[in-house]
Symmetry: C2
Subunit: 336 residues, 2 copies
């Protein structure tokens, strides 16, 4: 039977359950407003490794192991690992998956990757292709700055519209059975590009994609924003959030007090000098795994729309003057 409703949304008959999450965060993230909710906060972002890239691999590996350890399962029980990151050729995910020795699907959705991993994972489980899936996404500030922008040592000044790549990995074990929280619907995003070219303003590049997916979700499901206790975008930041509100208002959808953004939540704007907020695959992955998941488990949040957002750039495309395409995937996650 077809489970599609509308043009971009699927409805799960027997919604998969997120049975555990794990979060390993960098030092700066640990000093932020959500610091207390992460499983592990690193004292050193090198995490005992010789390079930032090796640290990113080790963080991903440790977070995925921790998510499994929190269940009564073993890594052997995971039917698939679905994971991605920001490094070229999904470098940290591939190397982390090597040591975990389970069937692996590498994915790339920039900072929306955790949403893509949970979406695909939920679909494979409901499809009957396994009992348990490990979904994860991570990023590392130092590895990302080096790869996408400038050598850290240069101390380049960052514009106020820029965001700070979050260091860490968020991981989740999803199961065919469980007591919730449940992934009830998934609205898969299209690539949207309104022509923003400024690599220091990714919020502006992603906001149109977030609006597109959000509007599709409401259209496909017939819901309105009030249905949800929380609507949490990935990493639009202060700049992108305002644009999202504007774009949705134009279409008659007013986003109000239940609108949150993981990028705004994870850092203290005044004390931590992160300008527009946090970004990177780890931003929504950590905020969900460390913060929102626990509130869903205690029923403090009953209905959440989680919308990780991604800016699909690379240095070559930006160097060649191309604009920055965005994508966003929405997941309706409910406590029961």
């Amino acid at each position: 039977m077809l489970k599609k409703i509308g043009s971009q949304t699927v409805n799960f008959e027997k919604p998969p359950s997120i049975i555990s999450t794990a979060s390993i965060a960098g030092r700066k993230e640990g000093e932020g407003p959500l610091g207390d909710c992460f499983d592990i906060v690193l004292s050193d972002d090198l995490h005992g490794q010789k390079s930032w890239e090796l640290a990113e691999i080790k963080i991903a590996e440790d977070a995925m192991k921790k998510a499994v350890q929190k269940t009564d399962l073993t890594m052997e029980d995971m039917d698939y690992i679905i994971c991605g990151d920001l490094l070229n050729q999904c470098g940290s995910s591939s190397f982390a998956a090597h040591s975990l020795k389970r069937p692996f699907f590498g994915i790339f959705g920039a900072c929306s990757t955790f949403g893509e991993a949970l979406s695909l994972g939920a679909m494979l489980l409901e499809g009957g292709f396994g009992k348990y899936i490990l979904a994860a996404a991570g990023s590392h500030f130092c590895a990302a700055e080096k790869q996408f922008r400038f050598p850290l040592d240069l101390g380049t000044q960052r514009p106020l519209s820029s965001t700070w790549t979050v260091t860490g990995t968020g991981a989740a074990v999803i199961s065919r059975c469980g007591d919730g929280p449940f992934i009830k619907q998934v609205t898969t995003g299209k690539v949207v590009d309104l022509g923003v070219k400024d690599m220091s303003n990714m919020g502006a590049a992603m906001a149109p994609a977030a609006a597109d997916t959000l509007l599709a979700h409401f259209k496909d499901t017939g819901k309105s924003p009030e249905y949800y206790d929380v609507i949490a975008t990935g990493d639009l930041g202060f700049v992108g959030r305002e644009l999202l509100k504007e774009l949705c208002a134009k279409e008659g959808i007013l986003l109000g007090a239940n609108l949150f953004d993981c990028g705004i939540m994870i850092f203290d704007r005044k004390k931590q000098d992160t300008h527009s907020g946090g970004s990177g695959c780890a931003c929504s992955a950590l905020t969900f795994s460390g913060h929102f998941y626990k509130k869903l488990c205690t029923d403090e949040i009953k209905k959440m729309l989680f919308i990780p957002t991604g800016a699909l750039i690379n240095t070559t495309s930006s160097g060649q003057g191309m604009s920055i395409p965005g994508i966003a995937h929405a997941l309706c996650i409910e406590s029961r």
Copy 2:
């Protein structure tokens, strides 16, 4: 009902059908042994664009459009696009997906990407999450050399173990209904790494992953190599193929005359100076879309095991002295 058999394989109850494929190949690929089977052979690998990266995007976009045009469907009918490539941050797939305006899952499995796209696509269809999925993978020799190795203008000499990145895109429309060929089983690979560090010998890096997936497939399904008319690996090349045979022989599986390799088939070793063979996401994607698919449609091949192989490297990991992890996904595709 669980559709898993053994540890890594899933069995489709109502196998999805590949209802069309399209192939756009570069000039050199057009001059090779399979030249006549591609839909379009480019006269210029820039494909009317200003850069190799823009050419790669345009080729991907055109091939995906062509795969849909060959059906009686429109792009609007595609429930998802699942696509990946070799450019940093899956650059060509994201930009191509933008102009096609359908829900998009970006994936990365290096040269195994087409196998990953078909695997995930088949699972989503059987799971009821759509009627039609567009799966594709592409690469471009010039963009890949520039990104992974040396500037082309340097004219660097290539070792005999090296392979030649294939220019082009292979795309397929998979459907819940159809007259075949059918994707009957999928064996998803683990990341395998036996410590090969030579970026000019990717066949050696990938052969252990191909062996691992192949052995898992035979173990999970109880089949032997003789079950298949054709067992086609992605891009092991001459060097990797011999290693695969050795690794399988050690485990008591003898691979014989039905073993093919897309990397060996796509170029003429003697006339085209490609050394160990072809590689890149487009290698298996083009060879399947242009060559094998047609033979499956005419029943000339009845049972095929298609095993795209990928070397999960990036220049940073190799620069930091790390070895090259490999992955391979196997698909049992049958004409009826």
